[in-house]
């Protein structure tokens, strides 16, 4: 057992952790890690480059989801989509950033759970719609916001999309991860029903919703305190008392 496992490739893990902790440029960290790991595994230099090239071609599908919608999103932004999303949300008097994001979390999780994972995403939903709405709902209450609060709202919008997607998609039976798991277990001599694997994802999915929704529920209060610390009070009572 000892002789047939080469532990040197673990150097790659060390390089990547040190690289990210010391905040080197991630592209540089990744390429240095790739070369270092392959060297540690004893690959000659031409095989290292060929392995990198093969890997780079195999993963060409990854950036499509970001690149393809850019033209549409850019044109819509040029014509005021983000401003309109902000105006639209501020016309709903009971809307707060926290409540908006809880509703989005529930919708994202439920739609992902029935396989509709494409009904969201960062380029086509979070940047043009969700983040401006979270900012708009807060602006409707407090007026102009400091940059720091804006950035916080945007980060929470992106985080909510991720949590909703991750802990929804895995309870959809036909999802790739379920196939991967049952295939792997089958090869290890264990047969499980895909439906059972999907079913046992539900308790974690419920916990994920409960934990993240609770944090979002508290977000409005946190924002109020942080804004108060910067000397920003809610706008005139008449505009906010309807909540």
């Amino acid at each position: 057992m000892l002789s047939d496992v080469n532990l040197w490739p673990l150097i790659g893990v060390a390089i990547i952790i040190v690289g990210f902790v010391l905040r080197f440029n991630p592209m540089l960290v990744v390429i240095v890690t790739a070369v270092g790991t392959a060297l540690a595994a004893g690959f000659p230099i031409d095989k290292i480059l060929a392995t990198i090239g093969t890997g780079f071609i195999k993963t060409r599908n990854l950036p499509l989801i970001i690149l393809l919608p850019l033209a549409v999103i850019g044109l819509l932004e040029r014509h005021g989509l983000r401003q309109h999303a902000q105006n639209w949300i501020s016309s709903i008097k009971s809307a707060t950033a926290g409540r908006l994001l809880i509703v989005y979390l529930a919708a994202r999780q439920l739609t992902a759970a029935i396989g509709l994972t494409s009904l969201g995403g960062h380029p086509q939903m979070v940047r043009p719609l969700l983040a401006p709405m979270a900012e708009g709902a807060t602006e409707a209450r407090y007026g102009t916001l400091p940059e720091r609060i804006r950035h916080k709202l945007r980060a929470f919008s992106a985080a909510t999309d991720n949590v909703g997607l991750f802990f929804g998609e895995d309870i959809f039976v036909a999802f790739g991860a379920i196939v991967l798991m049952t295939t792997f277990l089958h090869e290890a001599g264990i047969d499980v029903e895909p439906l059972h694997v999907a079913f046992w994802g539900i308790p974690t999915a419920i916990c994920a919703f409960a934990i993240h929704a609770w944090r979002l529920y508290r977000l409005d209060g946190v924002l109020a305190r942080e804004l108060k610390a910067e000397g920003i009070e809610p706008l005139a009572a008449s505009a906010t008392k309807t909540a």
Binding site: V5, A71, H84, A158, F166, A188
Partner: protein
């Protein structure tokens, strides 16, 4: 198939080639030559990458990483409309602006769901292996037509807007693919085997609870390193899950697989290696802190990971 994913690669390659040419001739970009070279190389990866020897592509990928790593990728200055122009346009178009934005996910969804039934003369219309991505491509093209019609803009302006956003994203746009490549290099080099070996050799799993915790936390940690739960699953399940949790303690494998994978997803929330979910959104939302999205996710991920240890412990041994 009629619409294969290869066409999307040509489309993206063409858009990137235009971006490269426009960048090379953009006087407002302080690093137009190196930036243009970066996008030009990336365009080649999509246009002819599968026909080149892998060695050349490897050299190109290393060159791109070096250009980006030494600060060679910058954006030009893009003229944006004034606040008043934005407001006037938003008022004029109103809710119509939502239609093209929502058309993209809607067409993607319809395409994905109906792909099985769409065929011409027995040949499937959409690439059966990549229905979601191909549907997304169709949705984006249709939506571009819709937005051009609504706003009286030309597709050329669409390309300019695409370049504006590409400039804003910079090298972060390429990072997911670089990391995907690294994952494959890791598995070729046997990193997974080495990690599994170290975990199983140096941690005493005689206690059932310790074994469960090692599996759950191991899934998360390994996902943090690899950036992807799919890569962690075979390693941790082969190293700890099947031999110890199922083999020694006779737990329910369905529960183990489900909770194990979702523990991996907790790791995804915590790692810059999952660039598509964590780093690219930070760039897209123009956040100065590239780890801002991860920071917003840390409490959720850690609380959920703790919950998973107990869920697996109690549900697996019912």
């Amino acid at each position: 198939m009629i619409l294969s994913i290869q066409y999307l690669y040509y489309l993206v390659g063409a858009v990137l080639a235009l971006t490269a040419i426009a960048t090379l001739t953009d006087g407002s970009n302080p690093k137009r030559v190196s930036s243009g070279l970066f996008w030009g190389l990336y365009a080649l990866v999509f246009l002819v990458g599968d026909q080149l020897p892998p060695l050349w592509v490897g050299v190109g990928a290393v060159a791109m990483a070096l250009i980006a790593g030494f600060g060679g990728v910058a954006g030009g200055k893009h003229k944006s409309p004034s606040v008043a122009e934005y407001a006037a346009s938003a008022k004029r178009l109103g809710n119509k602006l939502f239609a093209p934005a929502l058309a993209i996910p809607l067409v993607t969804m319809i395409g994905t769901l109906s792909a099985k039934h769409l065929s011409v003369g027995g040949v499937p219309l959409l690439d059966p292996k990549n229905t979601t991505l191909v549907s997304l491509g169709v949705g984006c093209v249709l939506s571009l037509a819709l937005v051009c019609w609504l706003t009286r803009e030309t597709p050329a302006q669409g390309m300019r807007e695409s370049r504006r956003l590409t400039d804003a994203l910079g090298w972060a746009l390429v990072l997911p693919q670089m990391l995907g490549m690294l994952g494959l290099v890791f598995s070729d080099a046997g990193v997974g085997k080495a990690v599994a070996y170290v975990t199983t050799t140096y941690i005493n799993m005689d206690l059932r609870f310790v074994a469960v915790a090692v599996y759950v936390v191991g899934m998360a940690l390994f996902t943090i390193i690899m950036g992807n739960g799919f890569a962690a699953f075979p390693v941790m399940t082969g190293g700890v899950g099947v031999p110890v949790l199922v083999g020694v303690y006779h737990g329910d494998p369905a529960v183990m697989a489900a909770v194990g994978m979702l523990s991996g997803y907790c790791g995804t929330l915590l790692t810059p290696m999952a660039a598509n979910f964590n780093i690219v959104p930070a760039a897209l939302l123009e956040l100065p802190d590239k780890n801002a999205v991860i920071r917003a996710q840390v409490p959720t991920a850690l609380a959920l990971l703790t919950a998973n240890v107990f869920l697996l412990y109690f549900l697996m041994f019912r």
